[in-house]
Symmetry: D3
Subunit: 161 residues, 6 copies
């Protein structure tokens, strides 16, 4: 796990990164139901699933979200933290055997009430092996500003620290 | 797992339900890292965690979210489906040994572009054993309207079906 | 998880409830072997299993029992506790991909040596997707008597408590 | 995994074998809840458990049973199969950190309606680190009779096979 | 789990034992990735795997090694401990659904700098259902010498212990 | 998961990289026993462990190895594959709660019988939170040579491909 300081200024609008892929297995369904306690028949009962519009078991929304987000966890950024998510939408079902990956676009950057921090909005598009979007979400990443750090350091110098 | 049809009209603004509790264990951290591939040291490295502001390992946001949502999965509603989430926010960290539960308030009801469906917004507040909110999210539940069903049935009758 | 006080008097002989279904997956076999340490080739060795009368891997008896019983865990009854099981029988094998559910019949009610408690016998029939019984067991549920409680309360009143 | 043919005649009333031990961990609770879908607060909610008579989380009955039985799975007996269990009783709770083992006594041997098979009753006593019995059960093992095999073989010879 | 003291002198060059088999499932891949954090696409991404020379997902080397070694863990030897492994080689890939077993040959015995201990070299050959070797390794087992024990006991007697 | 072609020539003798850390939990012991079927009391029986020289449960060698190796799985190298391991040694026990990381030194580079491939030997030192080495192993990485590729390409040009 690499560590890399990535400040507010280092994110460029429109930049895109694409994660590796991950096949969602029946075992993932079982482990996720076990972790969450959500044993809804849509995920866990193949006979019931035959009677639904999809005809087979579909992944928990929280499973697709957790794995799709997990795929983006590639390096530790010590000058940012995850603030939350907006506009999480379930676009298409994920089936056993589908392979998903996540595309992350720097969608927005905005100031916050903290002068030393800015919000970076990463738009996540989780896609399957047919390049169909199965889930979207906007990740809010609260990042330190490099300039703020410079100011703080300057202030420290002036203060004789 | 009980099945209970709950139409748009059946949800009442302001209604609150409180789930049972669940202790978040070190095993949950391990299983969640294993499922998502997110082995960030904030969750998995006790030595690193000592150097952070929290002093100990904190739960993955996706773990708290998945379990917090899973706790609400108490009955199957065949006339609704999960549309997505808005305004998911990480308010406080969850530590190993914390016990969380979820409070679900019917926060909003609105029409959609589909005349036969309405959107119910469930506001989730995930709280710890000290009754502190650790995460919030608005769950969007797309529900069939009972009246619409009546209209459809009436139309069927008129059509001589 | 709902909580509902269900006293000895509240159980009616002959009442039946049917749980939802659950597909028993290869992952369940693997997790159960891992939990119990039972790696018998009947469950874990597909080549060996081909040489048996069933021709394929069969579920551990304890897996079918644990899941079949787990399916009945739908609400917490604070005035009862599980006393044990009688007449647990393995009737037919469960294979990977089978979907089981449990039918619970109130089979017997009897007094116990504790005047304030009665024993409710729930007969469990675990069935597969072809409605074949794969396992049976009689669950002994030790329940408080409502009348006893009334007596206790009356006594308390008389005692001036 | 050793294979050893053990016929009805090979079991001696009163014989005892003692398995190795296994510490029941919090992870075992989590994995068992995940496998069975039984998230009762007695097992999974440390805050709730503080309010019970035991003051802490207790193992699922099916967990103690599954592990206690699993500990006895030491060799494959190709001339016997598990028929069922009788008189399974939860005697004392098992807590996180308890170490259990199983003592197996040949308690009974009886003929069955199949002349070539006999039933061996193994009495299981699952005990904790203080040598207290926490669970008992009678395991019914349907075993081939060696004499029957001899008869069959003799018949084959007479038949000229 | 049986306990059996097996001294250096008790191992005979050329002796072979063959373990039972175990089918390597997709669930094993998922659990192993989860335990190790190794989510390389060769193991976890079915689409990527189609583009490799093998055309499908292959087991982690550490998975095959861990299970292959685990299969040999049949009894506890209180007078020996595992010193290490030499010459571990990945000979052929293991695919989902393959059934492996391990053949253990006493390959070498040698003295060590400790006069009371000798090194037994167990050559492990992990094979699949087609009897093809998929992995080899030499296990170094440091064993007490029986003669040394006799000497120690004799010395104790002389010392009047 | 980043992909980066790293040829034989790109590895420099003496180069060192240090992975992030990972706390080995009781859950890891449980999951590893479950995956391997190795339920030796040294790992799984806290009461037995009290009677050993270490006084507490120690990690499976294959667990330390699997996690220690997994920590190094940071990027996919499409021009190399894992050939095997030499000189794997268990130096010190790993206990529940220890935090391990791996230091990888380019220890040797050598030609192979394949003119287009060279062997890179990575010396792995797995260390605990006290910077004590708990395990060592030499990882053999079979790498394509860049020069060889150039030769092949040149040959292709000459061949008119």
């Amino acid at each position: 796990m690499e560590t890399k300081a990535c400040y507010f200024e280092d994110y460029t609008l429109g930049d895109v990164r694409v994660t590796g892929g991950r096949t969602i297995t029946e075992a993932d369904f079982v482990i996720h139901a076990g972790q969450t306690g959500d044993f809804f028949p849509h995920h866990m009962d193949a006979e019931f699933a035959k009677t639904t519009e999809f005809g087979k078991r579909i992944a928990h929304g929280t499973l697709t979200f957790s794995v799709g987000v997990g795929l983006t966890a590639s390096f530790v950024n010590p000058v940012a933290f995850s603030y939350g998510y907006d506009h999480l939408r379930f676009v298409k079902p994920v089936f056993i055997g589908d392979t998903i990956h996540t595309e992350v676009t720097i969608h927005d950057k905005r100031d916050t009430k903290h002068p030393d921090k800015g919000m970076v909005v990463e738009r996540l598009a989780i896609k399957n092996q047919n390049d169909e979007v199965v889930m979207v979400a906007d990740h809010l990443l609260m990042c330190q500003k490099r300039e703020a750090e410079a100011v703080t350091e300057a202030a420290s110098v002036l203060d004789g620290e």
